[in-house]
Symmetry: D3
Subunit: 320 residues, 6 copies
């Protein structure tokens, strides 16, 4: 009989190598051997290089900066593991980029997150582990169980070190109004919410405003991700105008592109905190960016899953 530890095997997709490696280092285990080949015309081919028969596979890869390549690769990995007779495949997808497409808020569009969930399940995934989905409902797009982690503990630990005073947690818009409460609770902060108001005759012109009291407070703008940094910078500007003191921003997933870095560096934002769920090596170099690793959180989660322990216990304070 194999011992429980022997059945666990962590693998990484081509863009998850760094993060998976960090998890393996923490868990003191070897990353599974595999290779991904991308042909000239873009076709992806994956190959598992060691026996996985009856193993419990944890496949680590985000859908982030090359979302379509990363997603297709995930499907192929799942299939390869299942056809190689793995006992189970747990998809560890620290950031799930297509979660943004979670509703049909205009006619004749796709609910892309559900399309992706179905493709993942039909490929054969047995379970999903992810962090800070765009909306909590997305768990329900999966029929398989989803272990949903929160960046709040690791990010707030880093925020604590900044010695912010009289903090207000700011949601950039109504869509994040509910989630911002988790930060407010942990930071014992009040809440403010960004809003857009149409102005003048031109129906399209909008100005940003903030609902709630921010004067003289240190503000933490929070969101699930940022690409262009525009919204964050815009909110920061209004916060400044309304008399906020220090302004930091805090996002779970860092997709910042080169334009975004520029926007950040010109903005009123003192520091942008984020995790390493996205392999965004460029953005991590900016002085205004500070990365906190979520690898420990994921390592703990994988260990708990594999050893049949509760994962929710890690987030007990966050459930209301």
């Amino acid at each position: 009989m194999m011992r429980r530890e022997e059945t666990m095997k962590i693998f990484a997709g081509s863009s998850g190598k760094k993060f998976a490696g960090d998890i393996c280092a923490i868990l003191n285990t070897e990353l599974g051997q595999s290779e991904t080949i991308v042909f000239t015309e873009g076709n992806i081919f994956v190959r598992v290089l060691e026996t996985v028969r009856d193993k419990d596979i944890y496949l680590v890869q985000s859908v982030a900066l090359q979302p379509n390549n990363e997603f297709m690769e995930i499907l192929f990995w799942i299939d390869a593991f299942k056809r190689a007779n793995a006992n189970s495949v747990t998809l560890v997808m620290p950031y799930f980029g297509y979660a943004k497409g979670d509703k049909k808020d205009e006619p004749r569009v796709s609910i892309r997150a559900r399309v992706c969930a179905d493709a993942i399940e039909v490929a054969g995934a047995d379970r999903v582990v992810t962090m800070d989905l765009h909306s909590p409902q997305i768990q329900g797009f999966f029929k398989k169980s989803v272990d949903h982690l929160y960046a709040v503990p690791v990010l707030c630990e880093a925020l604590d070190k900044l010695n912010l005073k009289n903090v207000v947690a700011v949601a950039p818009d109504a869509g994040f109004a509910k989630q911002v409460r988790k930060y407010a609770g942990r930071l014992k902060a009040s809440v403010a919410i960004g809003d857009k108001i149409r102005c003048g005759h031109d129906e399209k012109a909008e100005i940003t405003t903030i609902i709630g009291d921010v004067k003289g407070r240190d503000a933490v703008i929070t969101d699930d991700f940022t690409i262009t940094c525009n919204t964050l910078a815009d909110i920061a500007r209004v916060l400044k105008e309304k008399g906020a003191n220090r302004i930091v921003a805090c996002v779970s997933h860092l997709l910042l592109d080169s334009n975004g870095i520029e926007v950040l560096e010109k903005s009123a934002i003192e520091l942008l905190l984020s995790t390493d769920t996205v392999p965004n090596f460029e953005a991590q170099k900016s002085k205004r960016v500070r990365i906190v690793s979520a690898a420990g959180l994921f390592a703990d989660t994988v260990k708990r899953i594999h050893h049949r322990e509760s994962v929710s216990v890690l987030f007990e304070d966050l459930y209301n």
Copy 2:
């Protein structure tokens, strides 16, 4: 060849008779004949009393005040129509009570809306029509297409008649912060959002506050539904304290029970507007309650679906 009109047939579940009848009256068609028998021990039995072979069935029933009976009955109807060789079954579920169970915001609970969606689809429904789901993501719980209607147009038409001035649209909590914008847009109103703050030493004690400016304004508190009226009354009280003028409330679905009516009548709420998606005949009698019929909206939708016309065109202003 049957003409298009001849293939349409509207049926009602036992608690949808009134609403379906109103739709039929508007569309100048007969309600399909059927009967529901509830045995002494609670077992439900349904029987279609006319041929439905190759007809397009529109089955009208909310999951509301007897949600489990109503839901099981829906499953049996769908099966009965499919086994009787209906061409298609469109479930017209004006209110979907289990939509509230749309996420796993604490450990080891069920995502009940997905459970219900799966049961509806496995029973054989081809399409769903519903109104103001608890969150827009729930459309993605269904694999089949969902025509999602909004009560905003019918409710705002009624609000217009109240001659409110300098209106602020109020979301009772962050969860409704996004949806309140649809009202604000239509009413050219500003936005305020209710919030709960923990106070004192007791972590459990919470006081209600309001983020945003309400002084001297007429306030419209909006929500998707109310049962106890407690939240609405609480917000109304704070609005009053903060200097709001007239206060009306506006919910899409009226589940108010007898206690709720009492709460309403003692509250600062001048009038509670709602639609008739829930057959809540008791609550409709209260003088503080005003019902606006959504039957016209659903009749128009069914007609458009059946005649292959756009439904989204009805809500063009609401998509941002």
Copy 3:
């Protein structure tokens, strides 16, 4: 490695607490902690209160006197356990009320037992344990395996104590003609079958008769369940007229309502034997009702399933 005993965990739905408790007492194990909340408007919410990751769950609840509430609750429990990463969920449903809806014997009705089976399977149940289904074919409505128990051994053990002589086992109608043979075989009894004959000019008027010899015999009327007791009382009357001696009745599942108790107490039936698969605490108080517990049978079954032993061995004499 967990030992086999540690992976077993028995839970109860809200109406299965008593029966599950009895099973747990026999197996010397603690009932799993969980709670069911029913909101004012009827919405059910379930919550598992302990970690179930990788456990084999046995969920105990009949679909009986509040069939729709009980059934929906079952679906939500299954989903909650699966999303909480249980290894397997075995639905122990001692009585499955919707099994009655097992065929389409008139046009345009639903086969409700199949609708329920599909909903149970799509929710994620891995296996079903039940007793005396309305017809044995219902096992085939499930794709998952069904362990089907028989009440015959426990009921006949109780019958033995009544010292009946020269016994005839009576099926109230042709529908139970096949099952009555299991009793006849065990009791070494002959068989008689109730029948309805239309009489006179009125096509609707029917009189009950009995096919087979009953004169001078002690009769045991058997059926799978009774609600109103009308059929049993009617048969008992004719048995008396035809010269039967003592008359007892014997049903697997006791759904008797208050009217039924009255009918029973006015009838020629000396005693009505049944099991405790239905939590029918009212009916159990009647002096003419005697309850034999099936908890031992279910406890034995759960133990055998969990320890990979044969269940069919318990009923060897009953297979012909």
Copy 4:
């Protein structure tokens, strides 16, 4: 736009040619062109020889005297039609031999009828038409709709011509006790039921008896099918002993093999009536066998299905 008649196309499997041809003759339409090739080693290959794009296909074949060949051929036909872009495939399976395997009445056997139903549905059939299934519950093994026909009308019309007097309808055993009532109702007959009694010390020895009154009556023994004629002959002998007058037998599906013909011709059965759902050309030659064609019934059914008319109306008297 094709007219409704143009979309209907009837095809036959290799053993359904005669029956399908009779249906086509009645409906005044050409049988679809196709061929079945059986290779030396038993492999079956099917080929549709005319365009079926967007046609509604009615495929006629029983699963009868070569049940495995016939069943596999059906699966291949369904796939061929679907891959050739037929609009729908209705499987017209006048006799479904594996319906006998409808329950698990002993441990570790297969529910073969469900296995077959699943294979038919996964191959792509859209609807099934069949006659006198072994038990009515089998409709519930299919998720797709089943039009279930009864032979009672055509067989009773033939029975009428025999001028039977004071008729008793006899079910050979308890398993057919419920169905025999349909004959009794139509023939205004009383009912009797065959039973087996164990005798003496040898538990295995059984003697046949009859429950119910048969003396001086003309008896019609009814069953869904017969292969060996043994049960029918046995019952006939006891009927004779108990003083029955004329004895005829009546089965829906005629599977009689050569031994069975011999048994029949030596028995007390004056005449065995059956339909032509099974292409049993040998048995049809016996003088004691009389075949009544069910092709008219199936032709009427196919026409009604195709023209969206009620099928159940054909059997109105048979629903109780």
Copy 5:
């Protein structure tokens, strides 16, 4: 009632615009209005800009030079059309790049074509039209019907104009040995097949050879696609060595990259014929490349599908 023509609507994915436009021009219809937005981080968003309720949609896009983007976009389109209540979605995928991954010819790899087929079907496609799949078995990876076209007629029509004499059709390797016969039959040519032989002590070193007679003949090297042109150039060299006269190559799908063009232009290949199924605008500029449009073939196919005519009739000569 809509006329048949009115229900047809052709749409294009972002890389299928040119090809779809050509089809529409031939069919004298407007291309459906839609837009694809690619966000900075690579996320794709699609939007249908006109009502498609109850329309039959033909979505045109190859999976070719950006296979992952193109594939994901296809999934989103299908979902968008289905959720917008299209009557049917036919995926017209002239080149299906992942068809190459059609088998598991080494351990622990994915069968990528099946993964893709499942994702397409679960997204909701009703039918697929494609051309010259890497192997004909791939049709069986789809459960839905596949209309499989051949480039042979259009390519051979172009070959005819080259006045080749005494032609030998050459398969570059055994994998194409079967398909080359379709060319040989149409061109009345003999057949030769490329082969690799290991040589010397080094097991890895292989030399190309040709099985079959080529001396003094004009050679047409055929394959389903080429990216690098290496294999074709290699075979051409050996053909030259073995005394072949003129040498042309002929591939169904043109994926040639810039290196490939160079290889081609330095090779013994006089001309490379291909179709326009891949939007390879760069390669089409090479003087050695000649493109023959397959748009006519696809237009004819779409028209036939929509008007319920046979598609296979277009390729009658190619079936053996």
Copy 6:
């Protein structure tokens, strides 16, 4: 806790008894007890005679000389094991006869191998083990994992003993051109391929030819199976004409019927080598036939699967 060895249980279908028995003998285990009953009219009934709860079942049966009976029996076995609560069912199908139907190379035919794969999967098989499928793509017809074995090692070991010199491996036609390379590689042989050429005015007349050099060589004709031996004999004749020396044939699966034996014995084939995957006891008696047992290969595979070891390692040389 059961030890790993105790959970393995090998069963045989009615035509797999000999082969399964050989596997069991090698693995030193008892064949599981079961029985198959074939009723007079052809109906198959299967019964497992020992407890299989939570066992890992390996069911051995080819689909070969009575393919439809054998296939249906397989479906029933799988269902019986699953309903008896087996932990897993691995279908060991040494020869899968319907693999020949793997494509739609003419209009309106079925892809029979996919139909069979779907039926196997819906019946509940968890994994398939088979050998030398007609084409490698068929693995992709299954969603479940397929362990695909090759006869090359066992057959080539037998070929080695024949002391063939200067060997050419011959594929009878282009369809086997790819697979013949596995033999050529192992035997260090060159390759030749059979071809058919149309001749004269009559388009139907074809003569066999051989592409490639065979003069003075010993030839090994290889194919996946043979029934009539016609193709092999035809190729042998041409090989002889073209100056080949010794000629042997080698097929994975031996379906040779009595005519085929005659053809073989009159042909230029010195010896026909094959395995025992097909229970073809008649053909094995011919002096020109030599059987090599594949039972060792399958025993090794089952053991490796059960003990979680690599199966692919057995064929390392065969992957290119």
